[in-house]
Each structure stands twice: as C-alpha cells, then as structure tokens.
Amino acid sequence: MPVSKSVGARIKRREDPRLIQGLAQYVDDIQLPGTLHVAVLRSPYGHAHVRGIDTSAASEHPGVVAVVTGDDLKDNIGAIPCATTDPEGFPGIQVPDHPVLAHGKVRFVGEPVAAVVADSSYAARDAAELIEVDYDPLDAVNSSEAALADGAPLLHEQFGSNQAFTWAIAGGDIDDAFAQADRVVKQRFNHQRLVPNPLETRGVVAQFQPGDGKLTVWSSTQIPHLLRTQLSVILNRPEQLVQVIAPEVGGGFGCKLNVYAEEALVGYLAIQLKRPVKWIESRRENFLHTIHGRDQVGDVEIPVKNDGTILGLKYTVEADVGAYYQLLTPAIPTLTGLMLCGCYRFQNVSMELTAAFTNKMATDAYRGAGRPEATYLIERMLDCVAHDLDMDPLEVRRRNFIGKDEFPFETGTAVAYDSGDYEIALNKALRKIDYEGFRKEQADAREQGRYLGIGFSTYVEICGMGPSAAMPAGGWESGTVRVDPTGKVTVLTGVSPHGQGQETTFAQLIADGLGVDIDDVRIIHGDTEAVQYGIGTFGSRATAVGGTAMVMAMEKIKEKAVNIAAHLLESNPQDIVVDDGKYGVKGSPDQGVTLAEISMAAHGGVNLPPDTEPGMAATHFFEPSNFTYPFGTHIAIVEVDADTGEVDVLRYIAVDDCGQIINPLIVEGQIHGGIAQGLGQALYEEAIYDESGQMLTGTFMDYALPKAHNFPRFELDNTVTPSPVNPMGVKGVGEAGTIGSTPSIVNAVVDALKPFGVRHIDMPLRPEKLWKLMQG
C-alpha cells in the first residue's frame, strides 16, 4: 500500500481525550438502576474435599437476595470451556470437568465455591464471610515435579495420575545431529510462573430482558464474539439472544483472552433474578483466579561443532498447567515448540512435553504465550555455546543466522518464516554501542570490583495469528466499512482493542485509502450487536489480520466510489483519480466529486451506474495465508552491585522489525511496554505457591510489578522488512518487546558475573540470588 500523508505519521491517539479526562466507561463504570452485586467465596485451601456448605446465615444477612453453591449450579449451567483438547494433537490428554462453582472438591486457592448476591457490594462481601464451608484439607502439589512424582496426591482421581497431556514435535534427525557433534552443550531452564496483572482487573455486568429473553453481558474481555458463543452454550441460551460488549478494557495481555467462571455465573444470576448483576474482581482475586503465564521447566541439549555451528536442539520439558484448563491452556507450550529454532538455520529439532495438573491457577496466554519461553532458551543457549566454546556470543549468532536470501524459510518445526534480515537488525543495534570499548571498560571495572555485563538477544517470533487451520477457533478476521450518506465513515472491526490504539491506526488507513479527513472516520469494536463476528485481539494479530480485513472491505468501497464518481462525471472508472479528498477525472482535478457527494448518490439510489446496488457498505472476511514473523536485536548493558546484588540496567537498546509501520508513536509504545514486561520477568516477577498450595505472592507488596525507576530510557530503532502475508506488509508488534527482551537481560547479568564462574542463573534475577552467587 502506498504510504501517503497519514499512514506512517506520529499521529496522537484518537481514543485519548476520553481516557485522560476520566470519561471512558470501563465495566465497573456501568451503573444500571437496580443493580445487584456479587461476592464470590473462594477456597482458602490448595486442595480439599468440601464436606458441606451452610449458607443460612449469609442468606439472612440484610440486603442479600440470593446465595448459590456448586450444587445449585451443577445441573443448570455448563462447564468452563477449553478449546484445545483434541487427543490427536495432545496424546493421552485428560480433560477434567471444570465447574463454574466447585462441587465436592476444591483444587486451588481462589477456586470459586459459592456466590452471594446482594443490593450492595459491601453487603455481598459481608455475607460471603458468613458462609460456613466444611473443608477436609488434602495434601497438595505445587510443581510439575511434585505432581508427577510417585505417590503424589491426585487432583483428579479418575485419571489415576496428575499427567494432563503430552505433546511432541520433531524435525530433521536429532539423533544424527548428536552423532555428528563435536560436543553437546546442556542447560536446564526454569520459566517461572507470572501473573499478567492488567491494571484493570476483570469484571462483568449482566442484564436480562425477560420480555424478549435477551441477555446482555458487559465483560472486560479481549474476545467478545468468542465469549458470546461460549456463553450461549454454557448458559443454554440461543446465541442470537446473547449480546456481549467489551467496553473500555483496561489492559489484557492475554489474560482476558478467555472464558471465566464469573462471566457464566453473572450471566446466570441475571437471568435467574431478572435484575442487573455486577461482579468486579478484586486485585487479590485477580492474583488467584485470573490465568497465569509461563511455568515450564526443562532441559535443553544442543549438539555443536567446535566452530560454533549448531546442529540441532533437543528440549525435554514439563509444564505446570494448574488445576484445570482454561480456554487455551494446552496450546500455549506448543507455541514454544514452533519457535525453538529461533533465527538459526539448524533443522534437527525435538521437543517432548509432559504437562501436569497442580494445585494452582491454570496457565494460559500471557503476552508472548509460549514464544518467550522459546526465545529465552535458544538465546540463553547461544550464550552457553559461546561460553563453552570460548567464543564471542555474536560470532555464534552470526555463524548460525538464516541468511536474508533464504526466505521464506521453513524451519525444522515446519513453520515458514515469511521474511527477515537478522544480520541487519543486529548491525544496526551494534552501531549504537562501542562493543570493543565496552569490553575494555568491563575489564577495567572488574579490576575495581565493579561488575558490568552486556547481553544480546537476536529474536524472531510468530504472530499475526493466524491461518484458521492452525488456530483453535478461527484465525480470520472481519471488517466492515460503511460510508454514511453525508460522507462520514464508520468502520466495524472484529478485533477488540484494549490499549493498542486501533481507533487511531485503522482510521489512518481509512483516511488515506478513501481520501477523507481522519476526523471523519469512526472505528467501532467490541459489541457483538454492532460487529457481525470477529475473533478478537491477541497474538499480535489486530492490524495484520483485522486491519487487512478492513482495508480489503475499504477497497471494495473505493471501487464502488470510483464507479459512481465516473458515472456522475460522465467519465470512465479507469480515468478517475483520488486527490485531496476528491474523486476527479485525470487531467481536470477541479471537477471532482467528494466521497460525500458519491455516498449521497449511492443512498439516493437514483443516479447510479447500471447494475449498481444502492448503499455504501462492504464487509470482508480475511483469512491469512501464514503467520507473520517479526524479529530484531535487543542489547542490555547492566551493572550488578557487588554489595547488594542489585541489577542496574544502564542501557537498553532495541532494534525491532515489525514490517511496515502505520504509526511510529504507537509502535514505540508497544515496544516500550513489551520490554518492561520482559524485564519484569527477568528481574522481579514470580508467582510462588507453597507446598500446601497457598499463593505467597498475592499482592503488589509480594509480587514486584516494575516501576518507573527500575528502567533506563529505552533506546529504540527499527528496520522495515515488509511481510508478504498481507497487502500492507505489517507484521505485528504487541508481543515482540516481551519476547525479545528477557534473555538479553539474563545474558547481560551472566556476563557480568562471569568472574564468579557463573554460567547460568534462573529468573528472576533478584538481588539476594545474585549476592549469594557473588559470595561464592
């Protein structure tokens, strides 16, 4: 697509005026008359039989309208769904029933047990404390290792073990690679469990209209249409009588790409009570009962030649998936498998995964969703190879890079990288530092007892999700473009942005494409009654897939506009040019007609070319032919304080390639935020459960979300390698920063601590861990 005046410009966001003035409407801001409030009573035990529940005192509490337990719901409401349980994909998969409210047994702290509905949130919480639950505590398991050990307490007794499923991928001949190797480099890696923590917790409001039987659900979700379909099944309501609205959504990062118990519960209660019902998640509940990310531990072996040539990679891994499956739980570690080869040429690869049920919240998609694990282990392993062969980490990378002329490149894991030039991104990043000078500074500093380190990450990731054949619930996206009679443009998109800025970037594309003022374009999303259907916002797909759908719909509109303009101007369509908002005849620009005049004619329905439908709207459903593969180089320079073990990130350089850029300001913001979350994992964040299944990191006091002073100013640059997968050449940028950044920090800290004989440290790199290593 030709870049004209709007696309490519640093246009400030059109969603911001409402957000900076406190005028936006998030779920908790929806205040319907007569609303009832829900408090959920949750299991305080990691694992226990529920012998009985006495709700009598709660029921009598002033203001209480209803109290429900699992026994009340189990015959009236379906289970929480998981979309990825096909035994062909996951051999031996065990699929536990996942009730909305527990019955008989609880399997993690925070599992919903009962719900109180009252006329105020305070009364509901008071009454929930009056519910008496007779628990019979059981031994718990808090890791895959504990869960898979002989004699471990069983979460789901009917399966006979805690093994949830297995999964494997193989390409080339890994055994031959080991046979050809000069040596094998090995390392075990722990990808610790993380809590996504959007600043807005989850929340649901539901309203039932008994007259026509319609249920409206407002939920803080990334997937309003998929949620609508699922709720219609869980609640056994006809789908056309369910409306889901994602209002302003305060961050998601994957954790709102799901269907949760409370969404079904609140919908059910609204139908039963025929009153609006609201539930707003507390932060404590968010820590306990919104999905977690990562939680893999595994061994990597890399057969290499003495010159640093990597011959293959073998990954044997356990995933701790928690007590039940949420929507995509089993699929997440498979994304690790697809990206194991990183940006390197080797074709021999093997991953064998065993997933275990544990007494924890389910894992699922958290920013990057399986790909950060792949990037972390391959980029850490490259440094381990360099360490063991006494080579420079950059030399190892360059020796194994896929060349820029080799695209599309099919990896050993059978994904086809669309386009790339890994060397150029690395070179551009290196120009921002003086690598040799740094090595000298590092040596001098060590003489003085100061520990500086540099770390590289040359990453590639998979996004723009994706071809429907590779997705659990459709990978296409929809876009409708409508020109109103007065020439204003309304867009309906199936993606559901919640901070990514598509109200701006999509309007830029329309403004340029149709030749209208950007202020004359409105982007509507997140309402299943406005938008025909859509898949949603996740997997860095909104622009690559949703934007393309919209642009293709726009092209249909444009073709029609040109035809009508030619008719009005008594000319030929091929002679019509669009210039400065006017559709005119080549050579006589002052005689053109505006889109408003064209649309008025289209809506008048009289003065139209033959065989032209009246109206001015078009819809396109876009099915991508492949994923997209952004890439880049991140460099971290750190100092580890010898007295405290604290890591000071001195410089952070990121050169990212996300294909064509529509709005550099928004792209920078996405990369900044992505890096912050990657650095959060590397340095601070970890969800810890004790042996009884208690979560020890359930508040912002115990779970360290990064703060402003934890970071230096990130130094960004980019290369542009268009993707051939869509006509705009965009790739996606929502997750790249998180995927690319984590290993650069760990590599830098390991480099800093090399004088102490350190070869690897598991994340998070908290001061006490580093201080102990420095004490020898």
């Binding site: 003035q21 406190g22 992505g674 912050a676 508040t699 402003a708 002073h709």
Partner: protein, 154 residues
Amino acid sequence: MNVEVTINGERNSHDVEPRLLLVHYLRDVVGLTGTHVGCETSLCGACTVMLDGQAVKSCTLLAVQAHGAEITTIEGLAENGELHPVQEGFWECHGLQCGFCTPGMIIAAHQLLQRNSRPTEAQIRRGIEGNLCRCTGYQHIVDAVQYAARKMRS
C-alpha cells in the same frame, strides 16, 4: 454519618456508612467514575485524587475522613474546556495505552510538578513510583511529564 466535601468546585453532602471508602464514595455515590480502583491496597495508585492540595490514594481513606475537604478528581482537572497541561502532555506524548492507570498517574504527575517545576528524568521516575502502569513501560509517561513541565513554565 454525614459527609460534606467540595469536589471539583461543587459542594456535596451525603449520609454514608462510616466504613465507606472515599473512592467508592466518589464513584458510586457522587458518580465520578474517572477515579479507578486497581488494587484496594494503596499500592497501584489508580485511585489517586487531590485532597486539600495533597495527592492521596482514595482506596485507603474513608469518605468521612474527607469531611470538609476540597477534592479534585481527574474530571475536575481541565478548566473551561481546556485540558490541563499534564493531560495535554499525556495525549501529545502517547503517555497511556489502556488508560486505566492514567487518571491516577496524571494526578500524581500534577502533584510532582507542583512541588518541582523542573524535575529531572530521575526525579520524575522516582516521583511516580507510587503509581503502576502495566502498558507503557513508563517512558512516554516521563515524556508527558516533561512536556507538561515545559508548558507550565512557559
């Protein structure tokens, strides 16, 4: 108990439960939903408002503790339809993404600039450490505060 407060220049008087949190009073009783609840434990700063000239976290204050006070919320920051320079800075510099932390972040930045009209980048980063943002990585927020500082000085 009766609570009387002036909010964004308007006088309010309500009978409330003594335990009602100030943030719930502002949101649910007065109807000013621009102030958000992010953690209920005064750690995230989403609920920050100005109370008698001090930025406070309204999720850990009782409404009755604000009796007689003057409160400014995010809805009261713009004057005569003109955005406050801090609001303008957040817009110009892309200092927000999902927007949920933004009202509290803007109030905290406003307080910071009242106390120091020429903050360094390090002072800005320390000055907003009571407010969490999960989207931006803070860099554009720093830019926004610097923009506002320049604008307010000129």
